[in-house]
């Protein structure tokens, strides 16, 4: 048996996930092939808003290899099956004799169900976060029936023996549309005379959510300095390199189904599928196999998942649907898309007195799983790392004829951090302070106990001063300012910009009571089981479900240290509701701070029980037992000892256990965190901006982040590198653009700039370690920190570089064209026309050339 006196947490353990992935043995949804499996392909609306006047599927049905074609109308009754009914009756292949006499009711009424007409008046929705009591929720059918509300909405489904044949048939479906007026712009959408996305709702406003703490009016009335800014959070496309995919497989024995989906949230998916499709939860198994990136886009429940499931129910065969990339751009959620109005009241010395924030948040055409709640995750974070007394926030969620939005890496917090960190630079300009100094004047004194913020929540621990001091040293701030001064004096065409971001973010979602208070439709606990097997090997079952974050490795390290074994002796089971039945899944940088802590606590329970057994075996008092390096010994008599594997064997042999003890050595823990966690950090972006071409090049990027104690430094660095890269991508490159008819003009990887290796820099990373008092391990989370911290550092650096031209503002993405135009405008020159103010595309001059 492996004896492992060393500690693995914090050490350089290479990832256990890698061997399969680097040898092409990953188990992806699209690799799943089942006997008799059919392929579904979806016809999508080319219109952003239209009535469907007719659909003719007859030619498609006659295509070779086509098993079935369904319109929205054909599937209507599938969404109204009663989940409390007899499952066998729901599947339709076991009608009682009495039912047959009655004409074969499709649903068997039970005591607590009412007999409904096949098509009910209920509102169908995938949304689980009704942020206000009076939120407007549109009816969201997986396949449209009468009306389409965004380009890409499903209109019909073809099922065929392979994808080529299914696609051939899709092309033969004839749909007549009657185009309706389209609205794509949020500010237009909330005007009284705007076209309505959903006529039935009578408005494009979904909800308005507000928060106020302290006396905001008084703060603003008394302030000497006011700063008011408007920032645009452009719409982003998540672009996981593996698109979504699902396989639904009926189980003829149980009458249930197994659903394989490329999802971040198998447990949430299971609950929603059960409700939406009327399949009792105990007859549904959901598996997330290897998942090729998510970034929030797979933290959802999508039409195609329920479509695959109900088609497998209708046809009694396995159904596969895999998204192609152009579908991914239209039919997987987008991120961000907010207009942020932010205002600061401050003293002339730069001390903040109050803050007001008003958001417009584009929901797109429908509410997805957490769509309305995303701005709320930001609502509490606008005050950032600064302490003051008065804070007011409001957000209005708006419907437009565009793809729905939802969580994209950071989900509300990158937006908040961007706004506060941009306006801190504006405050520095207004007060004549250095951006470092204005930040310092508003920092919290370092603290390690919960501390109330202007938004009324409690940060767990923070030491901004240490992080900022260290990053200034790393970057040689004074040297950089000196170089900048030289370049400015020399009128260098390539100017140097130094941009700051000092941020905190909210992780460890979430205390269940807080979620309830925010009207989120689910709990925030996490579950783990730690099973010491009779051989001394270990199984860890976790409810979090990774898609690149390396949980298998990190959880092995945690369990290994707790139990005194090697990580090699630990198997981590996850992502399958049959083997890991309880979990709230992976998002919001919650896995370690909630799921990892649950593993740690379950392992401690195993050690506690093992200690009792060891004491019994050694005929010693439990209080005298010491546990070190996988060995229990008696205090003062180290020669009297037993190993953990010996204890495990005894636990299962069960012939020499303390009186009344249950056999076995396996423990569960449901961990509901008492508070969130708040990682923080200080970033400096050093950018060279070519003022003649407008091209910005990040020369150096320094980041000192604090996510508490680190389990696996290599994985943490990887999360930061990838996270910062996604923030840089928002700041410099990416933007989803719609034309006024609601066509996504950046509808492919050709038109939407996902940065490649030449477009991104290297990063200089360091850490400080401030443990969280929230959990037993002191850990905070790191999955989104880079994406949250970096966009304002990049944009502040671009503005800093251009400040000699009088530039004080630029929107994301700071493309060469936009930078060049900003310089021209700041100097009062003709800069060409810009058709849509969100457009990052080259405008045409009157002469026809590019501006």
């Amino acid at each position: 048996m492996t004896e492992a006196p060393e500690k693995f947490v914090g050490g350089g353990v290479l990832r256990k996930e890698d061997p399969a992935l680097i040898t092409g043995r990953g188990n992806w949804v699209d690799n799943i092939r089942l006997p008799g499996m059919l392929h579904a392909t979806i016809l999508r609306s080319p219109y952003a808003h239209a009535k469907i006047t007719s659909i003719d599927v007859s030619a498609a049905r006659e295509q070779p290899g086509v098993a079935a074609v369904f319109t929205g109308k054909d599937l209507l009754e599938e969404w109204d099956k009663n989940p409390t009914a007899n499952p066998a009756a729901v599947t339709g292949y076991s009608l009682s004799l009495a039912e047959r006499e009655n004409g074969g009711a499709s649903v068997t009424p039970t005591a607590d169900s009412t007999s409904e007409s096949p098509v009910s008046e209920k509102t169908h929705t995938f949304c689980g976060w009704m942020v206000t009591e009076d939120i407007k929720v549109p009816d969201h059918l997986p396949v449209a029936v009468d009306e389409v509300n965004y380009a890409g909405e499903p209109v019909a489904v073809v099922v065929a023996t392979d994808r080529y044949k299914a696609q051939d048939a899709v092309d033969l479906i004839e749909v007549d549309y009657e185009p309706l007026d389209v609205v794509t712009n949020m500010e237009r959408a909330i005007q009284d005379d705007s076209p309505l996305v959903h006529e039935k709702l009578g408005t494009n406003k979904s909800y308005t959510w507000e928060l106020e703490n302290g006396n905001v009016d008084e703060a603003f009335n008394n302030a000497e300095v006011h700063v008011k800014e408007r920032y645009i959070q452009q719409r982003l496309i998540p672009n996981a390199i593996e698109t979504r995919g699902v396989v639904a497989n009926p189980d003829p024995v149980s009458g249930g189904y197994t659903v394989y989906s490329s999802t971040q949230v198998p447990h949430i998916l299971k609950s929603v599928l059960a409700t939406y499709c009327g399949i009792p939860e105990q007859r549904l198994r959901v598996v997330a196999p290897d998942v090729g990136g998510g970034f929030g886009s797979k933290l959802n429940v999508y039409s195609e998942e329920v479509i695959a499931l109900v088609l497998s129910r209708k046809l009694g065969l396995p159904i596969k649907w895999v998204e192609d990339r152009s579908e991914n751009y239209l039919a997987t959620i987008h991120g961000r898309d907010q207009i942020q109005d932010i205002e600061l009241a401050a003293t002339r010395e730069g001390k903040i007195l109050g803050m007001k924030v008003h958001l417009l948040a584009d929901m797109g055409a429908y509410l997805q799983l957490n769509g309305p709640g995303i701005p709320l995750l930001g609502a509490f974070m606008y005050p950032g790392v600064y302490t003051f007394d008065a804070y007011g926030f409001s957000c209005t969620g708006v419907f437009t004829n565009k793809t729905p939005t939802d969580a994209y890496r950071g989900a509300g917090r990158p937006e908040a951090t961007y706004a506060i960190e941009r306006i801190m630079d504006a405050l520095a300009r207004e007060t004549g302070l250095d951006p470092v100094e204005v930040r310092r004047r508003n920092f919290y004194e370092p603290f390690d106990e919960p501390t109330t913020t202007p938004a009324g929540i409690q940060y767990d621990s923070m030491n901004m001063q240490a992080a900022l001091d260290r990053v200034l040293e790393l970057a040689d701030y004074e040297g950089l300012r000196e170089e900048q001064r030289r370049r400015r004096e020399a009128n260098d065409p390539v100017q140097l910009g130094i941009g700051f971001s000092t941020y905190t973010e909210i992780c460890g979602l979430a205390p269940s009571q807080v979620l309830a208070a925010l009207r989120a439709g689910g709990a925030g606990w996490e579950q783990a089981s730690v099973r010491m097997l009779a051989s001394g090997k270990v199984e860890v079952v976790t409810g979090t479900s990774p898609h690149g974050q390396g949980h298998v490795t990190s959880w092995s390290q945690i369990a290994a240290d707790a139990l005194g074994v090697s990580p090699e002796d630990v198997e981590v089971l996850h992502g399958d509701t049959a083997t890991a039945p309880w979990g709230r899944d992976t998002y919001g940088s919650r896995s370690l701070a909630v799921g990892g802590v649950a593993v740690h606590l379950a392992a401690q329970k195993v050690v506690d029980k093992a200690k009792k057994i060891a004491a019994h075996m050694l005929e010693a008092a439990e209080g005298d037992m010491e546990f070190e390096g996988g060995r229990f010994s008696v205090a003062g008599s180290p020669e009297k000892s037993v190993t953990m594997p010996e204890v495990a064997a005894a636990a299962y042999l069960a012939n020499n256990l303390p009186e009344g003890m249950e056999p076995g050595l396996s423990e569960d823990y449901f961990y509901d965190p008492p508070n969130f966690t708040f990682p923080f950090g200080a970033h400096i972006c050093v950018t060279e901006v070519d003022t003649e071409t407008g091209k910005a090049r990040i020369r150096d990027y320094f980041a000192v982040d604090d996510c508490g104690p680190v389990i696996n430094p290599q994985i943490v660095d990887g999360q930061l590198q990838g996270g910062i890269a996604q923030g840089v991508a928002q700041a410099l490159y990416e933007e989803a653009i719609y034309d006024e008819d609601g066509n996504l003009t950046t509808g492919s990887m050709v038109d939407y700039l996902v940065p490649g290796a030449p477009e991104l820099p290297n990063y200089t990373l360091e850490r400080t370690v401030t443990p969280s008092p929230t959990n037993a391990m002191g850990v905070k989370g790191v999955g989104e920190a880079g994406t949250i911290g970096s966009p304002p550092a990049v944009i502040n650096s671009v503005i800093d570089a251009l400040s000699p031209f009088g530039v004080t503002h630029i929107d994301m993405p700071a493309s060469p064209w936009r930078i060049w135009q900003t310089i021209q405008e700041a100097q009062g020159r003709e800069a060409g026309s810009r058709e849509a103010d969100l457009s990052g595309r080259p405008a045409q001059t009157e002469e026809g050339g590019e501006a």
Binding site: I22, G24, G26, D162, E242, G718, Q721, Q726, G756, N762
Partner: protein, 162 residues
């Protein structure tokens, strides 16, 4: 239907295919090689990169019939004597992958790069991999992996040549 023959990772395969079938889909659907991934089907992301007669190609942009008679190497076929290729080993050691979905294509593009340029600079590595998108890593550790693998690949070349 056209009858085609090709060698994939050292094994011969004969098949009847439609002329429109992509090499990517032939490898995945007909030959069951799940280690060739895809991410866009439009030559942008590079997840489907394989070697065709020793040169890297994006298999979503090659018709199966164009690969008639070709020798195809995928990420499953680059191990030598039961050991990982140095590029595979280096991706593991530098944490050059997270979700692992772009990885087979990224590894094959790197193998191809080191064949053509055994001692690439950082900039050359970044430019050579520009057709392979990774959404997880930010590329820094991928670049490090190629740098780490390069001397090992160089040293093994004479052995392979003899």
């Amino acid at each position: 239907m056209r009858r085609i023959q090709m060698t994939v990772d050292g094994r011969g395969h004969i098949a009847e295919v439609e002329p429109r079938l992509l090499l990517l889909h032939h490898l995945r659907e007909n030959l069951g090689i799940g280690g060739v991934h895809w991410g866009c089907n439009t030559t942008n992301c590079g997840a489907c990169t394989v070697l065709m007669n020793g040169e890297s190609v994006k298999s979503c942009t090659v018709l199966a019939v164009q690969a008639d008679g070709a020798e195809i190497t995928t990420v499953r076929g680059i191990m030598e004597n039961g050991l990982w290729h140095p590029v595979q080993q280096a991706f593991h050691e530098t944490h050059g992958l997270q979700c692992g979905y772009c990885t087979p294509g990224m590894i094959m593009a790197s193998v191809s790069l080191l064949k053509e340029n055994p001692e690439p600079s950082e900039q050359e590595i970044r430019e050579a991999l520009e057709g392979n998108l990774c959404r997880c890593t930010g590329y820094e550790n991928i670049v490090k992996a190629v740098q780490m693998a390069a001397p090992y690949v160089r040293r093994s070349e004479p052995v392979a040549a003899s």
